[in-house]
């Protein structure tokens, strides 16, 4: 009798790229839910617009590159990019921001470098950085979080949709009434105006620990991140190194001058620290690959994030920190090859 043959091993685990991406997307659900609770359904519209754009861009790029469309379109990586980018944009940002940002991320940051697995930079962060550099005004117009003492402006689903698609608010509202800076932005502005830290943080946009609403969103993101750790989709090295670096830097400066520098808790609970640590910096494709390399990579992102936030020209620095460390990955990988069995240290 004759049989077909295939090389060993003859069994493999039930896994797959699509499964990994799917788990990461599921782990973002708590973040998205709380985001919607505090800032309205705008995020969902952004995610929908981004996902559709991402899939179209992916399909076009695969076609042009003469690659099979179906396996890559269903791997979930493009949609994950779109969701991460959408989470970084103001919920009422006009549609062309998320569409152009996502298209840039997928077409240029991902496929121009060889598609899935070959992109040296995190596509979502490239998309965000391009938008932030090109359209800083639109990107810093956030909404006030729900639960603030000031009068709350609520938009219906229809109003949200029409605002995003037409770029203009319903006639009863003005942009001044619905927008508010992000907590990190507000803190920077207030400090620049010569306020002390206590005065600066007394604004209604701040909650107990950090930005109002953001505290809870970050907690939800942390829960999702811990789920990823438990499922071994990500390892602890990058998030722990990145958050530790932020805490160490923030604590040091806070001890030096508590009047001028926000404390570590504020840095963890405002902005994109937690999202960055668990969902963005951990993108394995653009991260360092050995455990030691990942510790260095994560710590570098944390350090740069703090530096950009505190002394740089942008209120949050996660995106630029990630891109700068992406740049250093080949170097880190070169010098952090682990010891091999039977070799001397």
């Amino acid at each position: 009798m004759t049989f077909g043959t295939a090389p060993a091993p003859h069994v493999v685990a039930h896994t797959g790229v699509a499964r990994v991406m799917r788990i990461v997307i599921y782990a973002l659900v708590p973040t998205v839910v709380l985001h919607v609770a505090f800032f309205g359904v705008g995020l969902l519209v952004q995610i929908a617009l981004g996902s559709v754009t991402a899939l179209i861009a992916e399909a076009v790029a695969l076609r042009l590159r003469r690659k099979p469309v179906a396996p890559f379109l269903t791997d979930g990586s493009a949609i994950l990019t779109a969701i991460l980018l959408a989470l970084c944009l103001p919920p009422l940002a006009p549609w062309w921001l998320i569409v152009s940002g996502t298209a840039f991320a997928i077409l240029l940051a991902k496929h121009l470098y060889g598609g899935l697995g070959a992109n040296p930079f995190n596509p979502a962060m490239v998309g965000y950085a391009v938008l932030l550099v090109s359209f800083p005004v639109q990107l810093l117009q956030w909404l006030p979080p729900a639960g603030m003492e000031i009068e709350q402006v609520k938009l219906t689903v229809g109003e949200t949709l029409s605002t995003i698609l037409t770029g203009s608010l319903p006639s009863r509202l003005t942009w001044d009434a619905v927008t508010s800076p992000t907590p990190l932005d507000a803190l920077r502005t207030n400090l620049n105006m010569g306020m002390t830290m206590a005065e600066a943080q007394a604004a209604p946009i701040f909650g107990t620990w950090g930005g109002r609403g953001w505290e809870w969103i970050n907690l939800a993101t942390l829960a999702g991140g811990i789920a990823l750790l438990a499922l071994r989709v990500i390892r602890w090295h990058i998030p722990v190194a990145m958050l530790s670096a932020i805490v160490v830097c923030a604590s040091f400066m806070y001890v030096v001058d508590p009047g001028a520098y926000a404390g570590p808790i504020f840095h963890l609970t405002s902005g994109a620290s937690v999202l960055g640590a668990f969902f963005i910096a951990t993108d394995p494709i653009s991260a360092a690959t050995s455990d030691r390399g990942r510790l260095i990579y994560g710590a570098g992102i944390g350090l740069l994030t703090y530096v950009i936030r505190t002394w740089g020209g942008y209120p949050d620095g996660v995106a630029f920190a990630v891109l700068l460390m992406n740049l250093s990955v080949p170097l880190i990988d070169r010098y952090t090859i682990p010891r091999i069995y039977g070799h001397a240290r």
Binding site: F3, A6, P9, H10, P284, T289, S290, I340, Y341, G342
Partner: protein, 487 residues
């Protein structure tokens, strides 16, 4: 010696052994013909001692070792040598390999190996090694390295540590488990013989924590032998904890140097099956003409462990297992992680055949379509050699020999753990297996080129030196003439 803290890497995977260990070992049916490849052990092919048409008796030596690393072969039955010709063999699927074919007359007339020793403990270690060689004993764990050669190269002043490997970590294979369960006395006897041949003072028998019955049987046998030199060590059942280097690390807490052998750190590792074969040879004067083969998988009706004469066709073993089921799809020699895929069953059992898996779709988890590597590093967490398979994969295309060497391609043991966990379903182990010889060839030729370059430079330097000396002499000769005029 490199200190080592704990076991790293590996997989806890389903063992698939319950089906074949349900029943005790039984004898495989006798075959009409036995095919014995001359190169079925590591090293050089054995040299035939018989001609076509010769009558041979069971246990009779039919081929002797070539000088160097090689092994004896014995007739598994009495009968006639009907051919000495190239035949297909499971370890050389590329091309048929020279084999002695013996027709079985069914009488099993034994040959008396007169050279057998009456009191093994009285002879010198060197003679003991020679005696073990004459039994045709090779490592039965899978590599079939001639045991005597290994022992001779491991002899050292203060006696090495003996490690008997009973950690059968590959899925499906259970021949060592049933051996330890049913023939623990043979293993202990063989251990004592090996201790004597090596002048060793300690023997550790390593056994996995998921085979309690075998543990019990071995403990009882060690107790019965009243030999304090032998101890049992239970190791966690993690694949590939039974790999020689991995097991040595687990048991002794030291690593084997990458460019060395276990003997370099004073350890000799032998399979428990090899120890039992040594016992049969020394005690019962039966050279290695049979071994236990596990026949299992969903593609065969009844799984079993069969005492099988070397040279038996696989098809005959499958018939002993009740034949193929209608779900049969793939034939594998070895286990599901490292086993060799076989294109047909008209192949003989060799000394290295520990298991035949007749696999159905239920046994196989076929790989999905290959996706690009996403550098997740799942592979590096399971690599028992602490490699970064994701980086090795990166340096395969385009082929970068320098980085492949730096990242330890040659330290890969091809266990397949990286394949198993890869979400992108990349056949990593196969790629590494294919590329290793390419890299080795390149390093060898580079070494040759370096040597040639060194010779060339040495020659140039010598010529220049001679030229300089010659010129100096000429100058010396001329100086007296010039000297007075210039002063």
């Amino acid at each position: 010696m490199i200190p080592r803290q704990a076991i790293r890497g590996g997989l806890r995977i389903e063992a698939h052994k319950a089906r074949s260990t349900k029943h005790p070992i039984r004898a495989a049916s006798l075959s009409a013909h036995y095919v014995l490849p001359l190169d079925q052990h590591s090293g050089l092919p054995a040299l035939p001692l018989v001609k076509v048409g010769d009558r041979v008796r069971m246990f009779q030596p039919i081929a002797q070792p070539a000088p160097g690393i090689s092994a004896w072969l014995h007739a598994p039955a009495s009968g006639e040598v009907i051919a000495i010709e190239p035949r297909p063999a499971p370890h050389r699927l590329g091309a048929p390999t020279l084999s002695i074919v013996i027709s079985n007359d069914g009488r099993d007339e034994p040959f008396d190996n007169a050279a057998a020793v009456s009191d093994f403990e009285q002879i010198s270690p060197k003679e003991a090694c020679e005696h073990i060689a004459r039994g045709g004993i090779v490592g039965l764990g899978g590599a079939a390295f001639p045991t005597a050669n290994k022992l001779e190269s491991s002899l050292c002043e203060n006696g090495p540590q003996l490690l008997l490997n009973g950690a059968e970590c590959e899925p499906y294979i259970s021949c060592d488990e049933v051996l330890m369960r049913e023939r623990a006395d043979d293993i202990v006897f063989g251990a004592r013989a090996l201790l004597h041949a090596l002048c060793a003072t300690h023997c550790t028998i390593a056994i996995e924590d998921d085979v309690p019955e075998a543990q019990k049987a071995l403990s009882a046998a060690i107790e019965k032998a009243c030999d304090s030199r032998i101890r049992l060590k239970v190791v966690p059942a993690i694949y590939p904890a039974g790999g020689e280097r991995q097991l040595i690390s687990t048991v002794f807490g030291v690593e084997v140097p990458h460019d060395g052998l276990p003997a370099d750190i004073g350890v000799v590792c032998q399979n428990v099956g090899t120890a039992a074969a040594i016992a049969r040879w020394i005690r019962d004067r039966q050279p290695l003409i049979s071994r236990i083969v596990t026949v299992t998988g969903d593609g065969v009706r009844d799984a079993a462990n069969l005492e099988t004469r070397i040279g038996t066709p696989f098809a005959s073993l499958i018939a002993d297992g009740g034949g193929y089921t209608e779900r049969m799809s793939r034939l594998i020699m070895g286990g599901s992680m490292m086993g060799a895929p076989l294109p047909h069953d008209d192949l003989p059992v060799i000394k290295a055949t520990n298991c035949i898996v007749a696999a159905s779709a239920l046994d196989l988890q076929p790989r999905g379509a290959e996706m690009p590597c996403i550098r997740c590093g799942a592979c590096s967490y399971v690599c028992p050699a602490y490699l970064l398979p994701q980086q090795l994969h990166w340096y395969l295309h385009p082929y970068d020999s320098e980085q492949l060497q730096r990242h330890g391609l040659l330290d890969c043991i091809e266990c397949g753990c990286c394949d198993f966990v890869c979400p992108s379903q990349i056949p990593l182990a196969e790629r590494f297996r294919e590329t290793k010889p390419v890299l080795i060839r390149e390093l060898d030729s580079r070494r040759d080129a370096d040597a040639a370059r060194a010779r060339f430079h040495a020659r140039n330097a010598r010529l220049e030196r001679l030229e300089a000396e010659h010129r100096a002499k000429l100058a010396e000769k001329r100086r007296p003439k010039i000297g007075p005029s210039s002063s």
